[in-house]
Every structure is written in structure tokens, then in C-alpha cells.
Assembly symmetry: C2
DNA sequence: TGTAATCTCTATAGTCGCTATAGGTTCAAG
DNA sequence: CTTGAACCTATAGCGACTATAGAGATTACA
């Protein structure tokens, strides 16, 4: 049996976050000690690590909750799990594309300032006028 | 004099967002009509466009507020403005790097599932075991 | 057994940048 | 003068936590 602090130490998930996951229904409320403190079975380590890994990969708690439901039913088709992964990948790729456009624009803006005063500052001018930009963002 | 709706239409910033910016101190409270509705001078277009452009480039409202302060003082050194731009660029680059690691990992995960059931699903297995990953994330 | 240090408990508020809703008032056109 | 669109304020909600306060539980050691 693990205390919440031990579970936290072994998974790298902070104590308040574990309580938050419980409140959100991602992990089942564990048994309690006589003094009302949470006591986890070793299996909770697996569950929580699954959630943490999903979060580290950028999945939403909603997607992780769906995947947990799916994982509990080994005979079922994995089409939904695969779809969640593909959709997330595609969202990540969209974010990368957007951030790359920003990076180009910001690199240009940040490198072009030759002035010493705000009055001449290209950063300020660029922000004041999107027409100076190469791209939409 | 512009109503908040006209200001919104001309800048692409939604009406509640304009009110939010006012509450957050990014734009000055405008004059009011007899019936207490906001009436903006044409200059508000410039201000709001500046804010919108900053947001479109991914700057935080806090950074934008700093830049607005700076922009009001043309004789001042632009070192702070340049620093804000460089720091933001660097934050964007960090995000891109992190997302690219995720992309690699997710591509691998999403493409490797050959099973038809959850029991064989590589997506579920990968989430259950970070040791299957190539990278940290 | 006493005590002190650490851990844990609940409940609540704050973070960021909005967005949505409710219930009311004002404005502009016909 | 009436209608309908636009506007007003205040409040709550989003996602995924994080921080705080004030109280109670557990553990280690003397
Ligand atoms: Zn400059
Ligand atoms: Zn631009
Ligand atoms: Zn699969
Ligand atoms: Zn991993």
C-alpha cells in the first residue's frame, strides 16, 4: 500500500495533481487509512504512469480517459485508439506548422532592429504593421 | 467615433475580447455615449491592431503590455523591446523542438499498430511503457 | 509515552486568454 | 413609435493544473 506521496515520488506526478485526476474520474478513489488518508494498491502505479505518459505525449485528459476505457477491454477493436493517436499526431503537426511560421517571422523581426531607440525599433514597427510581415499567422 | 462592434469588425478582435483587454488595462477605457455605450476614437484602431498583431505572433498579454508602454516613449532605448522579441522567439523554438520530438514518437506509435484488437494494439502498449519510446518527452 | 517533524486532508482561489450566458438597456432604421 | 440589433454588466466556465490556508494524521526518535 502506497501513500499519495509515495505514489507521487514513484511516478513523478505531483500530489495535488493525483488528487485532481481522482476528482476528474481518471483514477478510482482508493481505500483510506483509519485517519482518512489515501492508500493505493501497487496497480495504481500502472494507471498513473499510463496517464502521465499520455500527458507527456501531449494527449488531453479526455483522450486519456477514452484510452483507459478502451484498454480495459482487450477483445475490442483498436480502431478508436488508433484514431485518437492519429488525430493527436495531426494536431501536433498543425501546431508545428503554425509555430514554424511564427519562428520565421520572429527571427526576421528580432534580427532586423538596427536602431538604438524605440522610435527606430523594428520590433515596435513590425508589431504596428502586419503589412511588414511575409506571412499570415 | 466607433462603437465597440465597429471596432471589432475592423480589427477582427471579438467584442467580449475588447472589453476583456480594457479590464486587463491593455486599452484605456473610452468615452461613453449618453446611454453608457463605449465610443472609440480612431486611434483605438491602432492600439487594438497592435495588440492583435502581438497575439497573432504568440506574445502574452503581459509582454504586449510592456511593449505598449515602451512604444509610448520613442526616445528610450529599445533594448527591452528587442529582448522581449528574442525571448519569445526562443520560447517558440523550444516549443517547436518539443513538438518535433512528440511528432517523431507519435508517428512511430501511430504507424506501428498491426493488431486488430486492443489486446494487440501498439498505441495502448506504447502508452503503457515509456521504455518503448526512443526519446524523452 | 511524548513530542516534533513531516505528511496528508478538504476547500477554495488563482493561473491564462478568452468565451458563453443571463437579464437588462440603448440605439438606429423605417 | 416600434422593432430588432447592438450594447451593457456581472458571473461562470474552459483545461490542466498550482497555491494557499487551516486542520488533522502519521512516523521517527528519545
Ligand atoms: Zn529595437
Ligand atoms: Zn504579421
Ligand atoms: Zn491499434
Ligand atoms: Zn514515452
Amino acid at each position: 500500500m502506497l501513500s499519495i506521496g509515495q505514489l507521487s515520488a514513484r511516478t513523478g506526478v505531483k500530489v495535488p495533481t493525483i488528487r485532481y485526476y481522482e476528482k476528474m474520474g481518471l483514477i478510482a478513489p482508493p481505500d483510506r487509512s483509519v485517519g482518512n488518508q489515501r492508500r493505493y494498491e501497487p496497480d495504481a502505479l500502472r494507471r498513473l504512469s499510463f496517464i502521465k505518459h499520455g500527458r507527456d505525449l501531449g494527449l488531453s485528459l479526455e483522450a486519456i480517459a477514452e484510452l483507459i476505457d478502451l484498454a480495459d477491454d482487450p477483445a475490442r477493436s483498436c480502431a478508436d485508439a488508433d484514431r485518437i493517436a492519429r488525430e493527436h499526431l495531426s494536431a501536433v503537426q498543425d501546431k508545428i506548422a503554425r509555430l514554424k511560421r511564427l519562428e520565421r517571422e520572429l527571427t526576421r523581426i528580432a534580427s532586423r532592429c538596427t536602431g538604438h531607440t524605440i522610435g527606430e525599433c523594428y520590433v515596435i514597427q513590425a508589431l504596428s504593421d502586419h503589412a511588414l510581415c511575409d506571412d499570415e499567422h
